[in-house]
Assembly symmetry: C2
Homo-oligomer: 222 residues x 2
């Protein structure tokens, strides 16, 4: 998106970011050392501090370079929907696709690193690191607000609090589905032979089913 006109720095910087992205996904932030990063990137140990200032700022930049684009793409998709719709309400399934489908399409990009990043992102939603959490919250704030507002308009009969909960649940199902797809086969090892492109339609169907489910204010089933 923004090319800061520097071209000599670009290469080393990018190599560090790419290496860090993969390693953070595999070993977590605390589990990844500067030495692991610099040796994978084939750069000197001091390069990270030179280019980014610290490990924390490197983490931040790893997220920023992709998350900015992802949320821009989400908002652009929502802009299109809202322009098309005019006055009539947008179908919730379209809104869900603009948010979650956009992320899933990024996750399907294995070669460009989108897949790695989405795995990392999914993993990071439950990451307790204060620094990372605050940064993510800031990066997401605008995007989430606009999508929630769109869902409120699309589902005026549903209580807003309820929509908020369900958005939360959808985030969880997606994060886990992506991060779990190749990070953990807890349930069984049975996903190995699956085509990863099957994930998106299946997950979208699940999310919409959950979103539309009756509220069930009654007592528990037992």
């Amino acid at each position: 998106m923004n090319e800061p006109a520097g071209k000599t720095t670009g290469d080393t910087r990018s190599r560090i970011l790419d290496a860090a992205e993969v390693l953070f996904m595999d070993h977590g932030f605390d589990g990844t050392s500067m030495r692991m990063i610099t040796s994978r990137a084939a750069v000197n140990l001091a390069a990270v501090n030179y280019h980014f200032g610290s490990k924390e700022l490197l983490i931040q930049e790893v997220f920023r370079r992709r998350l900015t684009d992802l949320n821009k793409a989400r908002l652009a998709a929502l802009d299109v929907l809202e322009a098309e719709a005019g006055e009539v309400p947008i179908k919730p399934s379209r809104i869900v696709d603009a948010f979650f489908g956009t992320a899933l399409r990024m996750a399907a990009d294995v070669e460009g690193g989108g897949h790695t990043f989405m795995c990392l992102l999914g993993r990071t939603y439950t990451e307790p690191n204060e620094f990372v959490r605050q940064f993510l919250a800031e990066e997401y704030a605008e995007c989430v607000e606009r999508f929630l507002a769109a869902l409120y308009r699309a589902l005026p009969e549903v209580e807003r609090k309820e929509i908020l909960w369900r958005f939360h649940f959808m985030m969880g199902a997606m994060s886990y589905a992506i991060a779990g797809t190749d990070a953990l086969q807890l349930v069984t090892g049975k996903f190995d032979d699956e085509d990863p492109s099957q994930l998106a339609p299946r997950l979208m169907s699940f999310l919409l089913g959950g979103l539309r489910s009756p509220l069930a204010e009654a007592g528990p089933p037992k």
Copy 2:
């Protein structure tokens, strides 16, 4: 469950386990040092190695002591359902409640530490640590197999692969809902004033909606 007849050791051991559970949830495994654990437990630095052998074995024990009971409770609930049902198929909602509802009830136990543990567990589903992952897979294997089998019987018209996917999605929604409830307020800070007991019915409704959603083999909505 198993009282190894030692009573002098019990106290120190438990204090270490309780301290580790909280700290692992707050800072992750790599982010929690032995010094943090032992100082919180008010025991000596050497006590962890004395009682557990290593940090990794401590992690394992933190999970084992609660997970064994959780999965026993789940299987017991399933046993009851199967005994009651006899030949007729069990309603999927009952099966889902036996698995996820049991976990949610454990998560509602704030004082006994169940809540802390479920947060930790939810966080750990996306934890890439090889050691932990393999341990969890072993602990879960039997329980998950039996619940999947029950769902296959309850939903004979749905492809098994599809059920497997949806089970996976349900796990994700639950983990994130629990771990996110007080570990990260990414979406907004708006859950703070919520009663945590509201989570269970809302989540169960969402899960069942997703489980029952039509398969949507057609193209994407766009």
